[in-house]
């Protein structure tokens, strides 16, 4: 597929995706730990919620959002004719 002429739209969309995912990253990494003491009474399958989030939950979120980024960017590339040949 040829490269689409409105390529700037590709950059706008990839920036938007980046900021959305970074917002999730920021909440998990900084906002929840900031309110950790207030959230401690809430439990999650026996773990206090903030402990669980910092020890396990955050890691799962990171893996998932990095996976989403790779998948969405690949689709975006293809839409704009920027998909690369290579191992798929």
């Amino acid at each position: 597929m040829a490269i689409r002429p409105d390529i700037r739209e590709h950059w706008r969309r990839s920036k938007r995706l980046t900021f959305e995912l970074l917002a999730i990253w920021f909440i998990v990494s900084f906002v929840i730990p900031f309110f950790a003491r207030a959230l401690t009474p809430i439990t999650f399958f026996g773990w206090p919620l903030p402990f669980y989030m910092a020890a396990q939950g955050a890691l799962v979120v990171y893996v998932v959002i990095i996976g989403i980024y790779a998948a969405r960017m690949r689709r975006l590339d293809r839409q704009f004719g920027l998909g690369e040949e290579g191992r798929g």
Partner: protein, 702 residues
């Protein structure tokens, strides 16, 4: 292109076959050793066999992938599939500190230690979203290459290469120290010899084959270190919980039981008695400091007299020996005494504190509610600051970023970050579980036991190194109290197999895993340093006409030289080692993050801004460390009191929290005050932003 696709797929299958067989062979090797152990092979021999077998293995891969080709040497021919690049990055990433120290830090600090877990994984989000795909599109060899191209010219490249060398060198010294430590543990050789034995292991690989050899060895090392980490944890989890569940799920129940146990131990009268003894010891050390300089001579005489008294009554040899050591090690001057006694105050005060609840964030035991609130706020601020520095440092350490040059395409680079984080996840997801399982085991099977009836592993490790495990009957009641146990960080991972009741061969496997972690990181770092020197300094700046053969040769000579330098410093400067790891993160975050990310996301960023920002960022971070970190203060002779040098009470380990914003602000302000970058640079930014688009093409498309 379809031929290439087929080629890549075949290459991938071939790699998968190789590493599957390799994993099977390694497991068979461990099982064979376990059988030999049953046949009474001695522990020393198991240690030797593990050390030499794994180093020979890595050397074998290094020799098989030896190369003198430039693209192979610097970026492994740019054909490393995402999955394998992910595994290599993970091994490159996980250092001796992650492997051996992290679970121990979690054991000691509970929730507050989790900033390491989040910081060292969350940084990959920044790598994935902000840097890796764009660096791969750029497609050169080093990080200074990118700075040179984006910020037109050699000034940015030169400052960049200085920063790259600074943070990588600081980090590699710490890794070589770790290699020495593990080699010593595994074989019992002297520490100095251990360092140079380990160095041989590092060099055979990176020296012969550069990035290509390092990549394929790192994949092998990743497999060793993951097996070594997971096997003992799974075993211990089943032993403690009696549930056939993965430890990461099963430990929730254990955490609840641990919290119960902590509550009981906090109010236990015997525990309180032991803690009071420590509090008294701290008081008397404080009194001695207040009595200086007179108390120095007094207590010197008292120490001397105690020895004479013991000799006079023919006390047991052990007591006399201890008294002799006390006389020998007595501080030489009142100044030394002040320092030594301050250490005593700190150590005893720490041990006089009740156990901090493992799951409670920012715990404070202070009875005064106002002071307790202040302490909590201080801990929270430092938790967030450390997380910040570790994350942004991860996204700026050149030896990690460099790895994303080795994939075939931009898309593959993105997926490779995903595989990296997935591979790292396996270990980091397990570490909090391991810490809780070991803690619960210690609290329930060691505490409350009689001293004559201790588990074997406790006595064994206490004998190896009192800094790892010390246990003494402080209140002379014959029963172990929690406050009577002092654990070093490293013991948690090292002793897990024995706590779980596994044979010694698994302890050997764990040590081999730690060695793999340290070796792989050291390899990646050494390569970054020598690439910066041979590629950026020599080839790009001094002698652009140098032939490829000459560049690779120069790189190899430099590698040898840098490695020897680092080994020498690791042997000499042991006091500051732990701090050096964290310093590397703060320096990298302060120096590289802003010029890299703004270089991609903000076209207006120009070379003046970038150069100024790197200098300001590193200077601010370095200045803060030098004025607040005890070891650096000694080195630079800083005398102003620490408390007045601290900004907002941030610990020196998180100096990047000031360096990075300073750097970003400098970049923006200086860039706006100076002329905008040229049209070519703007076209370059577009080239980096879009996959597949050639240079200048984006402009034509609009």
């Amino acid at each position: 292109m379809s031929a290439q696709v087929g080629g890549n797929a075949a290459f991938f299958d071939q790699l998968r076959r190789y590493y599957t067989w390799y994993t099977i062979a390694f497991v068979v090797f461990v099982l064979a050793l376990a059988l030999l152990e049953q046949a009474h092979l001695s522990r020393t021999w198991i240690g030797y066999i593990f050390l030499f077998a794994t180093i020979t293995l890595y050397a074998g891969i290094g020799i098989m992938s030896r190369t003198a080709d430039v693209a192979e040497y610097y970026v492994a021919g740019r054909r490393v599939p995402a999955l394998f690049n992910g595994m290599a990055t993970a091994a490159d990433w996980m250092s001796a500190a992650s492997f051996i120290g992290m679970a121990g830090a979690l054991y000691q600090q509970g929730y507050d230690g989790l900033s390491y877990i989040m910081g060292w994984t969350g940084g990959y989000c920044l790598v994935a979203f902000l840097i890796a795909p764009y660096l791969r599109k750029f497609g050169q060899f080093t990080i200074p290459d990118f700075l040179g191209a984006r910020y037109g010219g050699n000034t940015a490249r030169f400052i960049g290469l200085c920063v790259a060398i600074l943070c990588s060198f600081v980090y590699v010294v710490a890794q070589i120290y770790g290699v020495g430590l593990i080699t010593t543990r595994l074989t019992g050789v002297d520490f100095g010899v251990g360092i140079f034995l380990g160095l041989a292991g590092i060099l055979v690989c990176s020296f012969l084959g550069g990035m290509r050899a390092v990549t394929w060895t790192q994949v092998a090392q990743y497999i060793v270190l993951v097996l070594a980490y997971l096997i003992p944890v799974i075993w211990l989890s089943i032993k403690v919980t009696h549930l056939p569940l993965p430890p990461q799920i099963a430990y929730g129940e254990v955490l609840a039981q641990l919290s119960q146990r902590e509550k009981a131990l906090t109010t236990d009268p015997k525990e309180i008695q032991v803690r009071q003894i420590f509090a008294q010891r701290a008081e008397s050390a404080k009194a001695k400091i207040d009595g200086l300089p007179g108390s120095w001579a007094e207590s010197h005489d008292a120490t001397q007299k105690k020895l004479e008294d013991l000799r006079a009554v023919h006390a047991p040899v052990a007591e006399i020996k201890a008294a002799e050591r006390a006389v020998e090690n007595y501080p030489k001057t009142p100044e030394d005494a002040a320092r030594a006694w301050q250490g005593e105050v700190a150590a005893n005060t720490a041990r006089a504190a009740p156990p901090a609840p493992h799951a409670e964030p920012y715990f404070s035991a202070n009875p005064d509610p106002v002071k307790a609130e202040a302490e909590r706020a201080h801990k929270r601020l430092n938790f967030l600051a450390l997380t910040f520095c570790l994350m942004f440092g991860t996204a700026a350490l050149p030896h990690i970023l460099m790895r994303f040059y080795t994939t075939p395409t931009v898309d593959e680079a993105r997926r490779s970050v995903f595989w990296s984080i997935a591979c790292i996840f396996v270990l980091y997801f397990t570490a909090p579980a391991l810490a809780v399982l070991v803690k619960f085991d210690v609290y329930s099977t060691v505490v409350g036991k009689s001293f004559s009836d201790l588990p074997l592993w406790v006595a064994a490790w206490a004998k190896v190194d009192p800094r790892l495990m010390s246990i003494a009957d402080i209140n002379k009641d014959g029963i172990v109290q929690l406050a009577e146990i002092a654990l070093g960080q490293d013991i948690v991972v090292l002793a897990t197999p024995e706590i779980g009741g596994l044979p010694y061969v698994i302890t050997g496997l764990v040590a081999a895993g730690g060695l793999a972690a340290a070796l792989s990181t050291a390899d990646g770092l050494l390569l970054t340093i020598t690439n910066a020197l041979s590629h950026d300094l020599y080839y790009k700046m001094i002698n652009p006409n140098a032939g490829t053969q000459r560049r690779v040769t120069i790189s190899k000579i430099l590698l040898l030289f840098v490695a020897l330098c680092a080994a020498w410093i690791a042997r000499e400067a042991q006091a500051g080692i732990l701090f050096m790891v964290a310093a590397a993160f703060s320096l990298a975050a302060a120096g590289f993050f802003s010029p890299l990310v703004l270089g991609i996301f903000w076209k207006r960023a120009n070379k003046y801004g970038a150069v100024a920002s790197m200098i300001v960022g590193v200077s601010v971070a370095f200045y803060y460390m030098a004025t607040t970190q005890p070891w650096l203060r000694d080195v630079f002779g800083v005398t102003a009191p620490i408390a007045s040098s601290m900004w907002f009470g941030i610990e020196p380990i998180s100096a990047g929290v000031f360096g990075l914003p300073a750097a970003a602000l400098t970049l923006v302000v200086v860039s706006l005050l100076t002329p905008a970058p040229s049209a070519e640079v703007q076209a370059f930014v577009d080239y980096v932003r879009y996959p597949k688009v050639g240079i200048g093409e984006a402009e034509d498309l609009i």
